[in-house]
C-alpha cells in the first residue's frame, strides 16, 4: 500500500507514520537525503538568507586579505606593463609560461560549474540542486580571471583592442585563423552565457530575498529581481530558457577547452602538436574543476552554515564523480605518454627523459601522485568520500597535480624546441608569482562576496525538489521515491 506524495497536505508538514519502526526508517531517510528532509519554505529560505546577511569578523578579515592580494595583482600588472615583459622569467625560447598556465588552469576550473548545473540538469540528477549555484559562481569568476590572463601576458596590452573585430580606419581586422581569436570568441561566448545562465537561475531566489530583505538589500533585490513574480507563465518560460541554456552551453563548454588545447596543438612545438590534446584537455579541465567545486562547497558549508543543504550524500556523489574523471584523465594521459615511450623520435625522447629522469622528474612524479595515486587509493572508499576534510584534501591535491601538469606542458616542454642550441629552462620570478597568487585570491574573493549578495543555495530548486520527493513503502521497508511530475 503506497503512500502517495499527496498534494492534499503540503509536503513540508507530512506526518510521520504511526508505526515507530517505520517512523524511525523515515527519520533516517530524511536526515540522509536533503530532498526527503522537507521543511517549510519559510524555514528553508531563512536557512539560506539568514547567514547571508550576517557578516562576521572572519568575513571582513577574509575580505581584507583577499582584497589586498587582488590589489597586489593589479599593481604588479601595472608595473609589468610599464617596465616590459622582461621583468618576468620568460626568455627567448620560453615565450609563454606563467600566465598561460594560469589561463589553462582557470578555464579548466570554469568547466565544472557549467557541467554540474547544466549537464546534471539535463540528466535530471536532483541531488545537484544545492551544489549547482556555487559551482556556477566558481565558473564565472574563474572565467573572468582566465580572460585577463592573455591580456596580462601581452607585450603591448594597451593595443588589445586590435584583437577585436570592429570597423576601423586602417581597414584591418583580426585574423580568424589564429587560435587566439578562437579563444576570444569561445571564451566570450562561454563567459557571457554562463553569467546569463546563472542569473536566470537566481531570479526566483532574488524575488524571495526581495520579500525577506530590508534596507539597501531590499532595494538591490527589487532591481535585480526584474519584477519576477513567479506566475505560472513566468515559471514555464524560465523552465524553457534554462533548458535551452543547458543544451546550448554544454557543447560550448567542450569547445572552449578544446580551443584552448589548440593553442598548443596548432604549433610545431614537439610535445604540443598532438591530436589528442582536445579531449585530453577537456577531461583534465573537468577533473580539476570538480575538485575545485568540492573545495568551494566545503568552504561555503563552513562559512555560511549550510550543513542542512550540503550533506554527506553530495560530497559522496562528487567524490565518485572525481574518481571517474580521474580514470578518464589517466586514460588520455597514458595515450599521450605512450607515444614517446614507444617510438624514439629524438626530441620527444628528450622531453620524455626530462620528465622521467631529468630535472623535471620531481614535478612529474608529484603530479602523478597527486593526480592518480592518491585519488585512486582513497576515493574508492565511501568513508573517505563522505568525510569532508579527507575529500577536500584529495581535491586540493588534485588541484596541485593539475596545475603542475599544465606547468609541465606549457612552461617546461616549451623549453625544448627542435634545435638543441635554443633549449632553455624557465624559472619564475616575483611578478608572475604575485600575479598568480593575486588571481587565485580574486576568485575566492569574488565567490565570498557573491555568496553574501545572492542566495548561494537555489532555494526554489531545493523546495521544488522536496515537493516532488516522497517515500514508498514495500512490506516493512520504506524507500525514498520520486514523483515524476512531467
Amino acid at each position: 500500500m503506497a503512500e502517495q506524495a499527496s498534494l492534499e497536505s503540503p509536503v513540508w508538514n507530512r506526518p510521520l507514520p504511526d508505526d515507530p519502526e517505520l517512523a524511525a526508517q523515515v527519520r533516517e531517510i530524511r536526515e540522509k537525503h536533503l530532498l526527503q528532509d522537507a521543511r517549510p519554505p519559510r524555514e528553508v529560505a531563512e536557512k539560506v538568507l539568514g547567514p547571508m546577511a550576517r557578516l562576521g569578523r572572519v568575513f571582513w578579515l577574509a575580505l581584507i586579505v583577499l582584497g589586498g592580494l587582488t590589489a597586489t595583482w593589479l599593481a604588479t600588472w601595472a608595473y609589468q606593463a610599464y617596465q616590459g615583459m622582461g621583468v618576468t622569467g620568460l626568455n627567448r625560447t620560453i615565450m609563454w609560461a606563467p600566465y598561460i598556465v594560469n589561463f589553462v588552469y582557470f578555464i579548466g576550473i570554469g568547466h565544472a560549474g557549467t557541467f554540474i548545473s547544466a549537464a546534471l540538469r539535463v540528466l535530471k540528477f536532483e541531488w545537484r540542486a544545492p551544489i549547482s549555484r556555487a559551482a556556477e559562481s566558481l565558473t564565472v569568476f574563474a572565467l573572468l580571471v582566465a580572460f585577463t590572463m592573455p591580456l596580462i601576458h601581452m607585450g603591448r596590452v594597451w593595443k588589445f583592442y586590435w584583437m577585436l573585430p570592429f570597423p576601423n580606419q586602417r581597414q584591418l581586422w583580426p585574423n580568424p585563423r589564429s587560435p587566439i581569436f578562437w579563444d576570444m570568441t569561445a571564451i566570450f561566448t562561454y563567459l557571457t552565457c554562463s553569467m546569463l545562465f546563472m542569473y536566470l537561475g537566481i531570479l526566483p531566489d532574488i524575488a524571495i530575498a526581495r520579500e525577506k530583505a530590508s534596507g539597501w538589500r531590499k532595494r538591490l533585490y527589487t532591481v535585480l529581481a526584474l519584477g519576477w513574480r513567479g506566475t505560472d507563465r513566468e515559471w514555464k518560460h524560465l523552465d524553457t530558457t534554462l533548458n535551452i541554456f543547458s543544451y546550448g552551453i554544454i557543447p560550448v563548454m567542450f569547445s572552449v577547452h578544446t580551443v584552448v588545447s589548440w593553442d598548443f596543438a596548432m604549433t610545431l612545438q614537439p610535445g604540443w602538436n598532438s591530436s589528442i590534446f582536445g579531449p585530453y584537455f577537456v577531461v583534465g579541465a573537468l577533473y580539476s574543476g570538480v575538485g575545485a567545486v568540492i573545495i568551494i562547497m566545503a568552504i561555503l558549508r563552513k562559512a555560511l552554515h549550510l550543513e542542512y543543504f550540503l550533506r554527506e550524500e553530495h560530497f559522496n556523489a562528487m567524490g565518485k564523480f572525481l574518481l571517474i574523471l580521474s580514470f578518464t584523465w589517466v586514460y588520455f594521459y597514458f595515450n599521450d605518454y605512450l607515444l614517446p615511450w614507444y617510438h624514439k623520435e629524438p626530441i620527444l625522447t628528450v622531453i620524455f627523459r626530462l620528465f622521467t629522469s631529468g630535472w623535471a622528474a620531481p614535478l612529474w612524479f608529484t603530479m602523478l601522485i597527486a593526480n592518480i595515486l592518491i585519488p585512486w587509493a582513497t576515493l574508492w572508499s565511501r568513508k573517505v568520500r563522505s568525510s569532508i576534510p579527507a575529500l577536500v584534501g584529495v581535491a586540493l591535491l588534485v588541484q596541485v597535480g593539475m596545475y603542475i601538469e599544465r606547468y609541465l606542458i606549457v612552461a617546461v616542454t616549451l623549453g625544448y624546441p627542435e634545435l638543441p642550441f635554443d633549449w632553455a629552462v624557465y624559472v619564475p620570478r616575483l611578478p608572475e608569482i604575485l600575479i598568480t597568487l593575486g588571481v587565485f585570491a580574486f576568485v575566492v574573493l569574488g565567490i565570498t562576496v557573491l555568496s553574501r549578495l545572492v542566495p548561494i543555495i537555489p532555494i526554489w530548486e531545493v523546495v521544488e525538489g522536496q515537493l516532488l520527493q516522497g517515500t514508498r513503502r514495500i512490506g516493512r521497508a520504506i524507500f525514498p521515491a520520486k514523483t515524476e511530475a512531467d
Binding site: 576601423n168 580606419q169 586602417r170 581597414q171 584591418l172
Partner: protein, 181 residues
C-alpha cells in the same frame, strides 16, 4: 575629496538619466582635447610664409621642395635658396626681413610641421611623383590657394588604402612591407 566628487557626479546623474548623455559628451570632448588627434601644429610658422603668392608668381612646388623628385623626403629649401631670390625680390617686406635676419644669424628657420605620418610609415615622394604620376595637389590639396597651409587629409592608413584601391593604376597595397619596415 574624490569621494565627494564621485558623490556629486552620482547625484548629477541620478537626478536625470538624460544628464548621463551630457556627461558622456563632456568625457568624449575632453578625450578629444587631450589626445594628439588635433592636427599637428601647422598653423603657427616662425615666418608668415604665404604659399599662394609664391605659386601665383609661378614658382614651382618642386623648386623649393626640391628633393621630392629624387628622394623619399620632400626636402625643405635652405635659407640660402630663399635668399637667392629674396635678396632681390620683396627685400623690403617685413617677412623677408625676418628671413634675412635668420640668414644673417646663420640660423635655420624652425618651420612647423604641417602634414604628419608616423615614423613607422615609409612614404616615398619620389615614387609617387615619378612612377606614380601623381602631383602635389593629390595629397596636399590646392596649396596654391592657401595663404596658410593646412593639412587637407588625415593621412591615416585607410586613406592610403582607399586611394590605392580607387586609383586604378596604383598598385594594390597587398604586402605591408611597401609602407612598414
Amino acid at each position: 575629496m574624490f569621494s565627494s566628487l564621485w558623490w556629486r557626479v552620482g547625484r548629477f546623474v541620478r537626478t536625470s538619466p538624460a544628464r548621463l548623455f551630457l556627461l558622456a559628451g563632456v568625457v568624449v570632448a575632453g578625450a578629444l582635447a587631450l589626445s594628439g588627434s588635433a592636427a599637428p601644429a601647422g598653423t603657427t610658422q616662425p615666418i608668415a610664409f604665404n604659399h599662394q603668392v609664391m605659386v601665383q608668381a609661378g614658382v614651382q612646388c618642386l623648386f623649393c621642395h626640391n628633393d621630392a623628385l629624387r628622394s623619399p623626403s620632400p626636402g625643405m629649401p635652405s635659407v640660402e635658396l630663399c635668399m637667392g631670390c629674396h635678396k632681390t625680390i620683396g627685400a623690403g617686406r617685413p617677412a623677408i626681413k625676418q628671413l634675412a635676419d635668420y640668414y644673417a644669424r646663420g640660423e635655420p628657420i624652425p618651420w612647423a610641421r604641417v602634414n604628419y605620418v608616423p615614423r613607422f610609415v615609409y612614404f616615398s615622394h619620389k615614387v609617387h611623383l615619378t612612377a606614380g604620376g601623381l602631383n602635389c595637389e593629390n595629397c596636399h590639396g590646392d596649396v596654391g590657394h592657401m595663404k596658410v597651409v593646412e593639412p587637407v587629409a588625415r593621412m591615416s592608413m585607410g586613406w592610403c588604402l582607399d586611394c590605392h584601391s580607387k586609383q586604378t593604376n596604383a598598385p594594390q597595397l597587398r604586402d605591408c612591407v611597401i609602407c612598414h619596415r
